[in-house]
């Protein structure tokens, strides 16, 4: 056990050893337990959202299926691939740090950042698409489009025959959340698989109510934006972390004996990846068979 006298000037310290630790092993153990504990609490943080999602999905499966099908699974899937590759480059960063190869370390940090930025870019495209389609759940936060002058007012169709307003038909003067198509609810009603909550939640006076169905779809999009938004925030923090890692790696702080910060950053990055692995199927892949099988 290393002994320390009154003055640290006369005792050799390994570079990077913090003053409160007696040796590097203690420091590494501490940092590792700390990071795992931190990730555990992050799981609890997202856990609240997953709980809310599960509760509402089991109450209103048709509304959630309808919303989920409007998400772009291709972009979501691409993002999943991007993140998985970024986790690979991150793992390689740690590997090369362990090997003491500063050059390749830096390359892989850069690649990781590239993929991370790509993820955020694709996310931004997705969010923008929601904006122009009028499915951002906050009133006023969607693209506004007045009805073209002289357009004939079509007779209001019941919501299970209405189509969602897209492209030239997109009319949204106040930028509200618009959802016209409740056909999935009608399907469930006809084939008798509505849940108890749905039997009350979609209907007014015994009739399918498009506005009530829309409110439930809106909840799906609310959870979508909060969950992916929180995840994106964590990605941004991850990118900041990578920037710091890049700088310190460039300055040569890490070597075969001391690369704990790289490993801990890797842990964080993998965690953010894993959260997405759960988010993607729950949000994007849900209920596709209802739409495509009928």
């Amino acid at each position: 056990m290393a002994e320390h006298g009154h003055s640290d000037k006369f005792v050799y310290h390994e570079p990077g050893l913090q003053h409160q630790f007696s040796d590097m092993m203690q420091q590494e153990q501490s940092v590792s337990i700390g990071m795992w504990a931190f990730l555990a609490q992050e799981i609890m943080f997202f856990g609240g959202l997953f709980t809310a999602y599960l509760v509402f999905r089991s109450k209103y499966p048709m509304a959630f299926a309808a919303g989920s099908n409007r998400l772009d699974a291709f972009l979501g899937g691409t993002n999943t691939l991007v993140l998985i590759v970024s986790s690979l480059t991150m793992a390689l960063t740690v590997y090369f740090a362990q090997k003491g190869n500063r050059h390749l370390q830096i390359i892989f940090i850069l690649l990781t950042m590239l993929f991370g930025a790509a993820f955020l870019g694709i996310k931004a495209v997705e969010y923008h698409n929601k904006y122009v389609e009028g499915i951002v759940p906050v009133a006023g936060w969607n693209a506004r489009a007045k009805a073209p002058a002289g357009a004939e007012r079509e007779e209001a169709k019941p919501c299970w025959q209405a189509e969602n307003l897209e492209g030239d038909n997109y009319v949204n003067p106040k930028g509200e959340f618009i959802w016209a198509d409740c056909s999935l609810a009608k399907l469930a009603q006809d084939e008798n698989f509505l849940t108890t909550a749905e039997k009350a939640g979609y209907f007014s006076n015994g009739q399918l109510d498009g506005d009530k169905f829309r409110d439930k779809v809106r909840i799906f999009f609310f959870l979508y934006f909060v969950m992916t938004g929180l995840h994106a925030l964590h990605m941004i923090v991850g990118l900041v972390l990578m920037t710091w890692l890049l700088w310190t790696a460039f300055r040569g702080y890490y070597n075969a004996d001391y690369y704990m910060p790289v490993e801990m950053s890797g842990l964080y990055w993998h965690f953010v990846d894993i959260v997405w692995i759960f988010l993607f199927p729950l949000l994007y892949l849900l209920g596709r068979h209802f739409v495509h099988a009928h």
Binding site: Q20, G34, M44, F46, G48, P137, R218, I219
Partner: protein, 560 residues
């Protein structure tokens, strides 16, 4: 001289060392940018005391208003804000940080023989976050406050309340991270920073208690963070999952809220229990009875505490079968606390008991927590809870466990470790007086509230039916005594800083590791890093204190 004696002799033998953590550097920056856990603890002490005073002022206002049945001192709307802010300030900004951030921060490294916590900069960040959150909460209070109750039930808080729910909600959200980082730091420290020879079962029970509470802080707090964040978003964006008018579910809010807030009440008692284990065994000068049982019961309470949140939802519209499960588990979680109570009592058997102020607080805790814990059984019994929930019975119960429990333990701990932290002794006479005033005043204030609750007086009422007035007057009278008892320490503690007798490093000649360094300790805690070879609460042969005891007896004989 063997290792124990050597460690015992590293003290200066009395008096305040010329250089200690308080005066090592004296610039403002050296305090605000410090990494020293002891300085951070002192800054927390000052901060939590401020919030305690604010919350206490609100308490006094509530009791004054409730002297008369009508809502005459305050308008009803103001009263609603006062009780809400009383709850928020006391729970989030005083009780939850109190013992861990003040006593835990100060003592855990010393008790395990380390130089500092494992992550000192995280400790400092935790303090900064607490200050930012506190400032935001105070700002929210000053611009008008909140009137939703500290429980923020929806849809009142998301849609109907006209007060600053977002600001205060975000303040609590931010404060949660202070709590999480403190807990995280303790977990890491207790795992990796123990001195050589300090095995898990040689740790003081104060440390075990803090380990258990850290598990709760780290795993539970994020849930309230996300819940309040969602409430704030729902208020702001008018879309969300809690207001039924837009398709949400108010009972989901209650489940998410109480999933944290029930474990939170164990955050507000486990550290206190850790302190009491120290007080009882040290002032009985005897090993604690059933060390392993007390240690494991803390862990059991932390774990089971996560399983009982539904007992706050018995009448909420939750399914009766869920109610039965939660009631059963609530009864189970009561058992570890009972075990502790018996073990503490048995510790006093064949002890050599001194009745210094800290011991009085320790005994006070035992009496008050006993009543508080037993009345928890009343509320955990389903059929009885239907009658008692949302009445003053609940108010009395939780004040008995939180104030009679944690606050009394906090005061006991402050009195016990004051000489260690400051190097000074306070006036023992006034200490005893205030301890007794607190005990008597507390019972006078809150016992009548059990009766009021059974009679049916609802809680959160600014105005109440006249037949409840007599007991309310008793309660307010008691509150005045309690208030005096709690304000007195402020005076004599401050007095002791300038005019108190120098304590010396081990005023009561106790075996704990914290008493084997100077008072106040040097910045690095120990001049020579200790090596531990003795059991905790070792008063007998292995303590190494015999030499010092003999020295003191000599000195006293000579002084006569």
């Amino acid at each position: 001289m063997n290792a124990q004696e050597a460690t015992a002799a590293t003290s200066y033998g009395g008096g305040i060392p010329r250089i200690n953590y308080l005066n090592a550097k004296t610039t403002l920056a050296s305090w605000l940018l410090t990494k020293d856990h002891k300085r951070i603890a002192i800054m927390y002490l000052i901060s939590v005391s401020v919030f305690f005073l604010i919350g206490g002022t609100f308490a006094a206002t509530i009791r004054l208003e409730l002297l008369t049945p009508a809502s005459d001192l305050l308008e009803t709307g103001t009263y609603n804000k006062v009780f809400t802010e009383h709850g928020i300030m006391m729970i989030f900004f005083f009780l939850i940080p109190s013992i861990p951030a003040v006593l835990g921060n100060f003592l855990i490294p010393i008790m395990i023989g380390a130089k500092d916590l494992a992550l000192p900069r995280i400790n400092l960040v935790s303090l900064y976050i607490y200050w930012i959150a506190g400032a935001l909460a105070l700002y929210g209070l000053m611009v008008g406050g909140v009137d939703t109750g500290w429980t923020f039930y929806t849809p009142y808080s998301t849609t109907f309340s006209n007060t600053y729910v977002e600001i205060v909600g975000i303040a609590i959200f931010i404060n949660g991270f202070s709590s999480i980082l403190t807990g995280l730091n303790f977990i890491v420290t207790i795992h990796t920073m123990r001195a050589p020879g300090m095995t898990w079962f040689r740790l003081p029970l104060f440390v075990w208690g803090h380990y258990a509470v850290s598990l709760v802080m780290v795993l539970g707090t994020p849930v309230i963070a996300i819940t309040l964040l969602l409430v704030a978003i729902e208020r702001f964006a008018r879309v969300g999952i809690f207001d039924p008018a837009i398709g949400g579910d108010p009972i989901l809010f209650q489940h998410l809220f109480w999933f944290y807030s029930h474990p939170a009440v164990y955050i507000m008692v486990l550290p206190g229990m850790g302190v009491v284990s120290e007080l009882i065994s040290n002032f009985s000068r005897k090993k604690i009875f059933g060390y392993e049982f007390i240690a494991f019961s803390s862990i059991a309470i932390a774990v089971f505490g996560f399983l009982v949140w539904g007992h706050h939802l018995f009448v909420s519209g939750q399914s009766p079968y869920a109610g039965m499960v939660f009631s059963f588990l609530t009864m189970v979680v009561a058992v570890p606390s009972a075990i502790k109570m018996f073990n503490w009592t048995a510790t006093m058997y064949k002890g050599s008991i001194h009745f210094d102020t800290p011991m009085l607080y320790g005994l006070g805790f035992m009496g008050l927590f006993l009543i508080g814990g037993l009345t928890g059984l009343f509320l955990g019994a389903l059929g009885l809870d239907v009658h008692l929930t949302d009445t003053y019975f609940v108010v009395a119960h939780f004040h008995y466990v939180m104030v009679g429990g944690q606050v009394v333990a906090y005061l006991g701990g402050l009195h016990y470790w004051w000489p260690k932290m400051t190097g000074r002794m306070y006036s023992e006479f006034w200490g005893k007086v205030s301890a007794m005033l607190v005990f008597v005043g507390f019972n006078l204030t809150f016992f009548p509230q059990f009766l009021l609750g059974y009679q049916g007086m609802p809680r959160r009422y600014a105005a109440y039916p006249p037949e409840f007035q007599v007991l309310n007057i008793f309660s307010t009278a008691g509150a005045s005594v309690l208030g005096i008892g709690m304000l007195m320490p402020v005076i004599y503690f401050l007095h002791s800083l300038w005019w108190g007798k120098e304590a010396g490093d081990n005023p009561w000649l106790l075996p704990g590791l914290e008493w084997r360094t100077s008072s106040p300790p040097p910045t690095e805690n120990f001049l020579t890093p200790p090596i531990v070879t003795w059991e905790p609460y070792e008063f007998g042969e292995g303590s190494g204190l015999e030499l010092e005891a003999e020295r003191r007896r000599e000195a006293e004989r000579a002084a006569v």
